[in-house]
């Protein structure tokens, strides 16, 4: 086992020295591919994290705005992450946040109230709620078929993006 590792460590610098003597088209292609890969992947990941993100809306909680037919056809939306970089949204915006009940699921709902607003709730444990600082109240357009603030209370900034 140790002998094999010794041979491997001696072989690799020797082989790369021999290969560097002859720059074939294959090696040039490989170098171009690797350098392109290291440019394209970080730039794409940064753009998807900071600027825009494409997502498919599933479920009936935002009918009739999204998925009006329901069932087979799902709407595809563009989420704007740049506009929420300062954590400012307005009432009436549709936002996508990570669900407070399940951190691996994202939900898309409409912002009804911002911090300091008084909300009359539909089916929440208190009938009137004051939205605390740093939180906002979201509801789906299709009341009754929606997992929103009426179930889990005011939502906070768990990685949200905005669709205007």
């Amino acid at each position: 086992m140790v002998l094999i590792m010794l041979i491997a460590t001696l072989y690799s610098p020797l082989s790369s020295f021999l290969m560097a003597q002859q720059t074939t088209a294959g090696r040039r292609y490989l170098r171009a591919f690797v350098s392109g890969f290291f440019v394209a992947v970080p730039v794409t990941v940064t753009v998807l994290d900071r600027f825009a993100y494409v997502a498919r809306v599933e479920g009936a909680s935002m009918q009739p705005f999204f998925n009006p037919e329901g069932g087979l056809k799902s709407d595809i939306v563009l989420l704007n992450r740049w506009s929420v970089r300062n954590y400012q949204v307005q009432r009436g915006d549709i936002v996508s946040i990570v669900s407070p009940k399940n951190p691996q699921q994202k939900i898309i709902k409409r912002v009804i109230g911002l911090e300091g607003d008084f909300i009359r709730t539909l089916g929440y444990k208190n009938q009137y709620v004051r939205v605390p600082d740093g939180h906002f109240w979201i509801e789906g357009d299709h009341h009754g078929h929606s997992l929103d603030s009426n179930s889990f209370g005011p939502a906070t900034w768990t990685s949200s993006s905005c669709h205007r």
């Binding site: 290291f38 440019v39 992947v41 970080p42 730039v43 990941v45 940064t46 994290d49 900071r50 954590y87 946040i97 990570v98 669900s99 407070p100 009940k101 399940n102 951190p103 691996q104 605390p132 600082d133 740093g134 939180h135 906070t156 900034w157 768990t158 990685s159």
Partner: protein, 170 residues
């Protein structure tokens, strides 16, 4: 002459964008350096300590009870808080202070975690604002880097507030 300057400027801008994106990916998916302030985690982390927090555990949902995490404050998304995880979803946590006669308990709801600072007397944590959603966690602190005499991994909780259940000892 003008074309050479334009070419060099474009090349410089291209390199800046490329290295900026690589830096963003490193800070977002690998780890970041955090300067901690405040007394709420003494004696484990003192004011002005520099720690390294890694992001992979949070993306893979592998945060465990007893880890120190950096999270977004639920009241101000621009502020970060550094606390220890006392309970994950479904765990029983003690909500009464040690001086109370009757002990009250609560269960952490689904998708939330219960955070407490190590310095129980001087820490605003889940005992005041309740459990926070798991998605607010940014990363897990794994190494203390500064001051040099306390370099290394961080110690276990000194407060003994973690209630160990049957399934933990497996």
């Amino acid at each position: 002459m003008f074309r050479r300057v334009l070419g060099k400027t474009l090349g410089f801008v291209g390199y800046t964008i490329q290295y900026g994106c690589i830096a963003h990916c490193a800070f977002e998916y690998i780890g970041e350096f955090v300067v901690c302030s405040g007394p709420s985690m003494e004696p484990t982390i003192i004011n002005h300590d520099v720690v390294f927090s890694e992001r992979m555990s949070r993306h893979l949902c592998k945060i465990q009870k007893g880890d120190i995490v950096i999270a977004k404050s639920p009241y101000d998304p621009n502020m970060n808080i550094c606390k220890r995880v006392i309970g994950l979803e479904g765990d029983k946590v003690c909500t009464s202070s040690p001086s109370d006669l009757f002990k009250t308990h609560t269960y952490v709801p689904k998708g939330h975690v219960w955070l407490e600072g190590d310095n129980l007397r001087n820490s605003t944590d889940s005992r005041s604002y309740g459990p926070i959603p798991y998605a607010l966690i940014r990363g897990r602190v794994c190494l203390k880097l500064w001051p040099p005499h306390s370099f290394g991994t961080l110690s276990e909780s000194p407060t003994k507030r973690i209630i160990k259940t049957q399934s933990d000892s497996d």
